[in-house]
């Protein structure tokens, strides 16, 4: 009898946080986790990242908020969320039922707002870390405007890092830049414990009958299988140019649907992987992907640690 699937150790570390496997649900695609309860055991996940939380509640954009494209979809939800106070009162206890570490994605219109949200959340013992959303393409102020300017990335990372206490700070990067490594380096230099990439690509779908954009927000973020090869490339680039030299782990994602997709990201340099759009279609797919990664490791007689960044 050889080694069995269940004996394979898939645990990884993001800074001081240990995950039992590299599967994480991506921000904005898994609600506050409880929506997934009927479909899967959340405790099987390596981690989950909540939707973006802002200082004040946000209603979000008008509809239509999504449109399907070939092999992808555009969304422009507009960071709809209940606001940090209500989140702390209503959601944290509910999420603390799970053994899985969870990370809270935070967003704001000003640096002060980001800091205020981070400060409140850093006092909640159950939260493992914060993910700084400086890459949302669907809000008029904040979001992506921070993530495309290296000077602002330095400033916001520095300020938020001061208040996060023992939580790890993940910075989520946008691909809508000329050189993503410049942004990644700015975040790492100022204390990011991990990098998360990629957020969606700014994109548009036009209704040719009305000659108007389909989305009420006009533009939206492209996600899904369509962006996967670009995401793999960018993860590898940031791994080589920033992550590996600095020893900072990368959470990779963008269009992952199958175990082989996830393995590509890990070979490219991702320590953990996020499942986003695919979870809209098969809400339990993270568990199947995890099993597929185990099978791969067993077949190739390789540990997950050896697999990370093993691109030849």
């Amino acid at each position: 009898m050889g080694i069995k699937n269940k004996d394979i150790d898939l645990s990884v570390s993001l800074g001081s946080v240990k995950l039992k496997n590299p599967l994480i649900t991506a921000s904005g695609t898994c609600g506050y986790a409880d929506e997934l309860d009927d479909f899967m055991d959340i405790n099987l996940l390596g981690g989950f990242i909540t939707k973006s939380i802002t200082l004040k509640p946000r209603l979000g954009n008008d509809v239509p908020r999504i449109v399907e494209t070939d092999s992808g979809m555009l969304n422009a939800i507009g960071l709809a969320n209940i606001g940090v106070e209500k989140f702390i009162q209503e959601k944290i206890l509910m999420m603390a039922r799970y053994k899985t570490p969870f990370f809270v994605n935070i967003a704001g219109q000003t640096i002060d707002e980001y800091v205020a949200v981070a400060e409140k959340l850093s006092q909640c013992p159950r939260i493992a870390g914060l993910e700084l959303n400086i890459s949302c393409p669907n809000v008029k102020q904040g979001g992506i405007t921070f993530g495309t300017d290296p000077a602002l990335v330095r400033q916001i990372t520095t300020e938020v890092k001061k208040v996060v206490r023992d939580k790890i700070l993940i910075v989520k990067l946008t691909p809508n830049v000329t050189d993503i490594s410049v942004i990644a380096r700015a975040a790492v230099d100022c204390g990011a414990d991990a990098l998360s990439l990629i957020n969606t690509f700014t994109a548009m779908v036009i209704d040719i009958e009305t000659k108007r954009p389909v989305l009420a927000n006009r533009t939206g973020g492209l996600s899904g299988p369509a962006i996967k090869p670009i995401a793999v490339y960018l993860v590898n680039k940031v791994f080589n140019e920033v992550g590996k030299p600095a020893g900072v782990p990368i959470i990779g994602g963008g269009g992952i649907r199958t175990a082989s997709d996830a393995i590509e990201f890990i070979i490219a340099g991702a320590t953990a992987v996020t499942i986003g759009t695919a979870g809209f279609i098969y809400p339990d797919c993270a568990v199947k992907i995890m099993e597929g990664i185990k099978t791969y490791c067993l077949k190739h007689k390789i540990s997950l640690a050896e697999l990370i960044g093993s691109l030849k």
Partner: protein
């Protein structure tokens, strides 16, 4: 009577029948795997399923309607939502019926489903119609493809509320747009005497109208409904309106509901990705009764059925 969402799940289903009804419509009967029995036996009318149609083949090129020949080539990624026209749940089997209209690349692919093919679905999803056994009168108002959940509701009401009188108002653009109904007109073509088998079998009086007058009364379903309400003046305390159809029709029905002071439930439709509350894309602008402002509810989770007076009609 509670209409709270039941536990949902991901299930495989085997196609029992996929029968064309005229050129545009089809009826798909799906037998769900055994473990779907409990969630679906608790499902309520107005809830829905999300079907994965991404891997289905396209029909033969010759069978693709000209207006869809271009869009047919699009890939499908997301599931497609369908409300139930019927659920038949016994100990040994769970059969779900849906009625669909071929409108785009997804429904075109569904036409190729054959008996014994397997499809994957998620459900039952959302919040369905609220049923109160004490109502004396239930008014169903269906517009076009809004009819299927009301056909299901009619059966449920008949079983659960034997003391409630039910009347159905059904409208569509033309006679062809009613072809998913078992439709009978008498020889004299008396407008008030169009019989729809789905309602007639429960002895539900039905008033049919079409925009072009090709069957039943000429005009909108909301006009025949308004005429009837004016003439019969039902007591709003003991009556309820259930409606599903195009948004403009629902909005007009909501206006009748407030004019005649009869509570009204509307089943809405929105673009949705997940159908399970994850993506937040299917927002419905609603009144916030506590603050007096507005808030967004989710069509997939809080709905698709809403009280007409909570929706902000635009």
């Amino acid at each position: 009577m509670s209409n709270s969402p039941t536990k949902k799940g991901i299930f495989n289903a085997s196609v029992l029948q996929n029968r064309g009804l005229g050129d545009k419509f089809s009826r798909l009967s799906l037998e769900l795997e055994k473990k779907a029995h409990i969630p679906f036996s608790n499902a309520s009318a107005g809830q829905f399923i999300q079907i994965d149609v991404s891997n289905l083949a396209l029909p033969d090129e010759k069978l693709i309607p000209g207006e869809l020949s271009d869009s047919a080539r699009r890939n499908i990624l997301l599931r497609r939502p369908f409300s139930f026209a019927d659920i038949d749940s016994s100990k040994n089997s769970t059969i779900v019926e849906i009625l669909y209209c071929v409108l785009g690349p997804a429904t075109l692919r569904m036409k190729t489903l054959r008996t014994t093919d397997i499809v994957n679905l998620i459900g039952p999803l959302g919040t369905g119609f609220t049923i109160s056994e004490d109502k004396k009168l239930a008014i169903l108002a269906a517009g076009g493809m809004g009819a299927p959940p009301l056909i299901h509701l009619a059966k449920v009401l008949k079983n659960r509320c034997p003391n409630t009188e039910i009347i159905a108002f059904v409208g569509a653009k033309t006679k062809i747009d009613l072809s998913f109904f078992d439709i009978k007109t008498d020889k004299l073509k008396i407008k008030s005497d169009v019989i729809l088998g789905e309602f007639a079998k429960h002895n539900i009086k039905t008033v049919v109208s079409t925009d072009d007058g090709s069957v039943g009364f000429k005009g909108f379903v909301t006009e025949t409904l308004a005429d009837w309400l004016r003439k019969n003046k039902p007591d709003g305390k003991n009556a309820i309106i259930y409606t599903c159809g195009p948004e403009a029709m629902l909005s007009a029905t909501a206006a009748l509901s407030s004019e005649f002071k009869i509570p009204c439930q509307v089943s809405l439709e929105r673009r949705m990705a997940c159908g399970t509350g994850l993506c937040q894309s299917c927002a419905v602008k609603c009144r916030d009764k506590t603050s007096g402002g507005t808030l967004y509810k989710l069509c997939c989770k809080d709905g698709p059925v809403f009280w007409s007076d909570e929706v902000v009609w635009e």
